[in-house]
Symmetry: C2
């Protein structure tokens, strides 16, 4: 299963996506916190995609891919594989568009994410972890039900949709010196980078990754696309490897890729909860951890971070657990 | 120490407060969640005062009380007693107005709230728990430094300031059938009730209390003001008893007072975290718990809840604890 043979998206595709999907999105707020600014010794704003429909930015790309399919009139179902948030997004977007959604999910995905897919009306099909098993399962589903693939990240329409988060952020905050997102498959950093370089050419774009899943960082440094296999990171949304289109965008538009430790990720999650009163998932906390580790430019620079999602298994998180009281 | 001999505030005082303080407030969002609507079987909107300056609605009342004092020109310091959020609010508002702030705090207050007061520039003075000890300590401070009292709840200017949260909520959501806030000293429910009855006369106003600190409920039912002494509730902001002015407003404008258990409070806090991605403190969760227990009107009614604050000691909360990862 190869991604559609689409060309690398451009800023015109992001602008078109914003027109296409804008009215159907949650208009997520841009937040800040005096306490967090003090910790980071700079002004930081957060685009809260944890408050997007489905609890993650993924709804943007999924809707931008699925709306045109539905309008073409000859597609009745879509299929995808996803560690969770993209699956929910595809299920939600398919429902809005009147299509069926089939979502292949690795067995080790976070439970609330699986529940979200089902609650959104998607049909969940489990597979073993790892890209080969996922792709085989999706191919089987596509044959069986004649579904159209909506790739989680390596698709120009998906990337253009994800770029609309940065478009909204830079419309509200045009003077950012640095913009940062986490990197998993690379749809968010790709869409963000091409948007930032069009709207704010002086703004540096930095991707953040778990040290334990640093394929994009190694790809960026080496100039050839690297991969990881079932990496040991709490950031479950970032366990995949960077896609082909996204690696092209990374090389062309991204200024740096930095890494953070597992402890830094959990600390950042906790600090966002304390200072911003927002629950973010570990994958989102990776970008905040990079900020707090001093890896997003120098002091006094204005930083924008896209908080990518907020779907957390409260029972599994190292500092969130279920417990009853008397 | 009696509250100032101010008359019971009116909606005109709330409108004047909105004019006076509006430009200095965080414009807190009104949020909702499809998942939470489903749980509650009705449409629910949340006015997010956990995102207000100082992490609670208290900044509204404090600023509305302190701004006129500062403009009068003959006051150099303010003093108050507070279990936490009002103290931070007074410290922040005093700093904005160029005054010193002295805050008497019971020793058993949540640690992050004490840290917030100090970070806001307030001078913290510890006292034993309980209203008599608080009042004695404040009286001593007022004598010593010639400070003006800013009462945490039983003050017309403070109540009018708190009412501006409901004013903003009802401006955005004019068709609410029910509006609910927690009740501690009663400043929030008092300001909310007189605002709601002026702006949306058909909207029912319901106060929510911990069963373990049900003085306002007993006062409401009996018609005479009751008190509690160091009640055993996780809702640390609601351990005080309802004030004189606020009891008058409660009798006049509030339609019902309901109670919830400690377990319901913690569950509600967790559900808000999961569904809305928002950290709220136990005192705020009391109103959400009342919703989830089916105590805020019937299904299909539109409910507005004021999320009063988000200052939580993550190490102390029954389902939030510190833990390091490898």
């Amino acid at each position: 299963m190869q991604p559609d043979a689409t060309p690398t998206p451009t800023f015109a595709d992001v602008a078109a996506a914003a027109d296409r999907i804008g009215s159907r999105l949650a208009r997520t707020p841009v937040m800040n916190s005096a306490s967090l600014d003090k910790r980071a010794d700079r002004r930081v704003v957060f685009k809260c995609e944890n408050l997007q429909h489905g609890g993650a930015f993924k709804y943007r790309g999924a809707l931008n891919a699925i709306l045109p399919l539905a309008m073409a009139g000859n597609v009745t179902a879509v299929a995808t594989h996803s560690s969770g948030n993209h699956g929910t997004a595809v299920a939600l977007a398919a429902k809005v568009c009147g299509l069926d959604a089939y979502v292949v999910v690795p067995r080790d995905s976070a439970r609330p994410k699986i529940a979200n897919i089902e609650q959104a009306g998607g049909t969940v099909i489990f597979c073993e972890p790892g890209l080969p098993a996922r792709e085989a399962a999706v191919a089987e589903v596509m044959r069986r039900v004649d579904a159209h693939l909506v790739h989680p990240f390596d698709d120009a329409r998906v990337i253009a949709g994800q770029g609309t988060a940065a478009l909204e952020l830079l419309t509200e905050e045009p003077d950012l010196d640095v913009i940062c997102t986490p990197i998993g498959g690379g749809g968010l950093i790709g869409g963000t980078a091409l948007t930032a370089k069009a709207m704010a050419p002086r703004c540096r774009v930095i991707g953040a990754e778990p040290l334990n899943a640093d394929d994009a960082c190694r790809s960026f440094r080496s100039g050839t696309r690297q991969s990881v296999v079932t990496p040991a990171t709490i950031a479950d949304g970032l366990r995949g490897s960077i896609g082909v289109l996204n690696f092209a965008l990374l090389r062309r538009y991204v200024d740096d890729v930095v890494t953070v430790t597992e402890q830094e990720i959990v600390n950042a999650m906790r600090i966002v909860l304390q200072d911003l009163k927002l629950l973010i998932e570990p994958s989102s906390a990776v970008a905040v951890a990079a900020l707090l580790a001093g890896k997003l430019g120098s002091s006094r620079q204005r930083v924008g971070i896209i908080l990518s999602g907020g779907n957390v298994d409260l029972d599994q998180c190292p500092f969130l657990r279920g417990e009853t009281v008397k």
